[in-house]
Amino acid sequence: MSKLLVSTTVNGDPQQFLCDPDTSLLDALREEMDLTGSKEGCGSGDCGACTVVLDGKMVCSCLVLAPEAEGRQVSTIEGVAEGNQLHPIQRQFLEHGALQCGFCTPGFIVASKALLDHNPDPSETEVRYWLAGNLCRCTGYDKIVRAVMDAAAELRQDRRTAA
């Protein structure tokens, strides 16, 4: 079985990699591109630890075949901060202590950013349902939800200031 050559864009950078046809996008990110921030918690799309954004849509990268990334835009946790400048969601996670072990955190942050990118003013219920595909076993979600709500408020304020 010969490998496929896939050309894609990851966090704005052009990437090429070789993979078997049945390789998941998650494995390609982790094994071929050394982007280990996306985690595998289940491999079945149930835990959200591998959440990435594919052409603007939030997906579980364990359920996407790597060749499907051909010609598309992939955004991962590694691209959320701009250089050493943390995204407000990342900073709010730290200020709230919204992580304990931190293993689910990349998935939560990518998913939260996807939420706030299209809904800048979500209610608590909207945050909880949007993040219902991301499992956290440590925190009980309280501080995560608060961090996302506060990040949303901060981003709204930033936008008002910019306007």
């Binding site: 590694e78 304990q100 955190t105």
Partner: protein, 752 residues
């Protein structure tokens, strides 16, 4: 509620600074168990038994070994002869004979998913393909899963050399009841017979999994000269070292275990499943080998917490005073002896109450499921569900407020504990009073809802820890410890070191060192790390302060006894030398400054929590929704308040999951039917309300900053708090967990 009056005496203790490992963890840079790569690393895969109970007649690995790219295959025959041998390191001693078989079946499989062979190959795909070429000849044996079935006369007996321990006379026949443990005092039967009110009931629970999101994973490299390195995430890399070296019969000093970041453990990562297997593969292949578990493997082959069958009778006088308790608890033990949940189940059953007459008998029952492993307050939530449900019934029968009933019976400082030793500065009454004063308790219960309350304790622990503190030449501070950071403990260590030394939090950096770079430290578990490792860090810091004072005294030519250390500065009269000034001169005053401390403290104190839960029950579907939840806990003293609250919230939600959704479901053939996160339903964000927390601070006088340990208590009361809330919402006592929609629906229809 969260501000104790005496907090202002500390600069840093009780504050909420950003954790030192925070940025790495929110940017995806942190390296967890499955992330580590060694040069030339092979990929491993494990073949697991499809049968819950079978004799292995033979394993043919020839075809797998012949596959291009396969570098090594191992089976149980590659394991050294595993005899009974106890090793310390985890929360209790482990018998390597059984630990070895949790890594690889040796002659017989005892549960579905037990490893029978493993392969290392140049790629994961080749390794998986090789597994399909391994032929295992099984003689399938009758299996047994449920506790009562395993105790039946005609049950298949798992081990012909396991006899019930703890009986007055050694039994003549082997048994699945591997252990009996009992506490007897007074005459429980007579006391209950004469009680004004009593409640008798049977409560059942199913096994549940710790549910950490990070799969078990490791890379092992065992060289031709006998020296080895392991990179893995665990709750204690010294325990990984001890068990791996013990099983493989090599020197402790020849195995260097590097702790990677750990993605959750909750007790479940205090043992080995993969490391000895990866080591054997590496030795055969001559290259490093990675092994990673799939989620389905984690459910099928790593330690769940015991299911239970509990019969309980509690009796009380008319004023609510408990007069007697008669309890028999049977806990799942899993495939092999050694699970110790029965001890804490029996010891902690009514340990938070004064009960003059008690007969509490516990049994550890083996069956064809994975061997039980520690899960947050191991053994306590199960028995607490029964005891606190019974207390709720007594409160209703006697017409006494449920919190008042508990206040009436709670133990107080100075009274004897379960072990007979007088209780120290416990805050049980303070926590109950705080719960009673909380607006949640006094708010009206919404129509269609029910409110439950329950309380529970956990003993906490001390245990050995090593830490060192070193001074940088510029006066910055390096703390090195051996306790994996599972929920912010680096921040707590930095706070305690900085508080003691009198420097800024940001001046202290914390490293969790590998087994060859710092002395032995017991696992992060038992709610011991902030307490015991914290003591080691504080002691080492004090050692550094002594040296700093000595250098200042020498510089000034005065007696060191006349030098004091105040706010990061050596002081003698009106002479002052800052930490940075002394550090800059170490080259001429005697060399670098560092100190190490080794502790093994036993002056830990138990924690205690009170949980209040409001639930709404959908009478059409049986679905239970948690509407409001409050956790009140004596935390000793919070070092980093965010991560103390986080423990309270996370533990509560795990307990709510246990109460409402989570359970191992086995089919008739003895296979786990829900070995994935879709069907093993842990709480998600949309299931939960905010979890309100109240930190009651009754400091432990034996710790410089009053630490008691906070991690485990919060999973103890939720099962009964939820059960009591649903019982009050429906008018039907909840005896069986999980309180799933189908069960509630059936109970509601039956009651109509």
């Amino acid at each position: 509620m969260n501000a104790p009056e005496n907090k202002q005496q500390f600069r840093l203790v009780g504050t909420r600074p950003v954790r030192p490992d925070g940025v790495e963890k929110v940017t995806g840079k942190a390296i967890y168990g499955p992330d580590h790569v060694s040069p030339g690393m092979l990929q491993g895969a494990v073949l697991r038994s499809p049968h819950p109970h079978a004799r292995i007649r033979g394993i043919d690995t020839k075809k797998a070994e012949a596959l291009a790219g396969v570098k090594a295959v191992v089976t149980g025959q590659d394991f050294p002869q595993a005899a009974d041998k106890l090793v310390a390191g985890a929360e209790s001693a482990s018998n390597l004979r059984w630990v070895a078989q949790k890594c690889m079946a040796i002659g017989k499989v005892f549960y579905e998913g037990q490893a029978v062979a493993a392969v290392a190959a140049t790629s994961h795909a080749v390794a998986e393909a090789a597994l399909k070429l391994i032929e295992v000849d099984y003689e399938v044996l009758p299996h047994v899963i449920a506790i009562e079935d395993a105790l039946a006369e005609d049950a298949p007996v798992l081990h012909d050399d396991v006899f019930t321990q703890g009986l007055a006379e050694k039994p003549t026949k082997p048994s699945n009841a591997s252990m009996r443990f009992a506490i007897e005092r007074g005459d429980a039967k007579a006391a209950i017979a004469g009680a004004a009110a009593s409640f008798t009931g049977r409560f059942t629970l199913q096994p549940v999994h710790q549910g950490y999101i990070e799969p078990h994973a490791c890379v092992a490299q065992w060289n031709a000269d006998g020296q080895a390195q392991i990179w893995c995430s665990s709750q204690g890399h010294f325990a990984i070292r001890a068990m791996t070296a013990g099983i493989l019969q090599i020197d402790i000093a020849s195995v260097r275990v590097h702790p990677l970041e750990i993605g959750g453990g909750f007790g479940g990562k205090t043992t080995v499943y993969l490391e000895p297997v990866a080591m054997l593969l590496s030795r055969k292949a001559g290259r490093p080998v990675r092994l990673t578990m799939k989620r389905t493997d984690i459910f099928r082959s790593t330690g769940p917490a015991p299911g239970a069958v509990i019969d309980i009778t509690l009796g009380a006088a008319a004023d609510g005073t408990l007069v007697g308790a008669e309890i028999e608890l049977k806990y799942h033990g899993g495939a092999f002896p050694g699970a110790n949940e029965v001890y804490s189940g029996v010891g902690g059953a009514v340990g938070h109450y004064r009960v003059p007459n008690a007969s509490i008998v516990g049994w550890n029952v083996l069956s064809n499921i994975p061997t039980m492993h520690a899960y947050r307050a191991p053994g306590a939530p199960q028995i607490n569900f029964a005891v606190e449900s019974a207390m709720d019934e007594l409160a209703a029968r006697l017409g006494i407020d449920p919190i008042d009933l508990r206040l009436k019976n709670i133990v107080h400082p100075g009274e004897p504990s379960a072990s007979g030793v007088p209780l120290g500065a416990i805050g049980y009454a303070e926590a109950l009073e705080a719960a009673k004063a909380h607006p949640h308790w006094s708010s009206p219960v919404a129509p269609g809802q029910g409110r439950g309350v329950a309380c529970g304790a956990w003993g906490n622990y001390g245990g050995p820890s090593t830490a060192s503190v070193k001074l940088g030449e510029d006066g910055s501070v390096l703390v090195t410890e051996g306790s994996p950071d599972i929920g912010g403990s680096r921040a707590s260590m930095a706070i305690m070191a900085a508080e003691t030394l009198g420097v800024a939090y940001e001046k202290v950096r914390v490293t969790i060192a590998d087994t060859s770079s710092i002395g032995f430290s017991m696992v992060t578990g038992g709610s011991r790390t902030t307490f015991a490792t914290g003591k080691a860090v504080i002691q080492a810091t004090e050692g550094v302060i002594e040296q700093l004072k000595d250098r200042a005294a020498r510089t000034w030519g005065v007696d060191v006894a006349a030098v004091t250390w105040e706010d990061g500065t050596a002081v003698h009269g009106d002479q002052r030398l800052t930490l940075a000034q002394i550090a800059a001169k170490t080259g001429t005053t005697g060399g670098p400054i560092s100190a190490e401390a080794v502790v093994d403290p036993h002056d830990f104190l138990p924690g205690f929590g009170v949980h209040i839960c409001d639930t709404e029950v959908d009478r059409e579907t049986g679905h239970v929704l948690v509407k409001r939840y409050t956790v009140v806990q004596d935390v000793g003293r919070a070092i980093h308040a965010d991560y103390v609250e986080g423990q309270m919230q996370g533990g509560a939600v795990q307990g709510i999951g246990w109460a409402l959704n989570e359970a191992y479901v086995y089919d008739r053939s003895g296979k786990l039917d829900n070995a994935g996160f879709l069907d093993y339903r842990m709480p998600v964000a949309s299931d939960m309300p905010m979890i309100d927390t109240v930190m009651v601070e009754v400091p432990n006088p034996a710790h410089p900053y009053g630490v008691k340990g906070v991690g485990e208590v919060p999973i103890v009361p939720p099962l009964a708090a939820v059960g009591n809330a649903v019982s009050r919402a429906t008018g039907i006592r909840m005896h069986d967990l999980p309180i799933s929609p189908d069960r509630v629906y059936g109970l509601l229809r039956a009651a109509e």
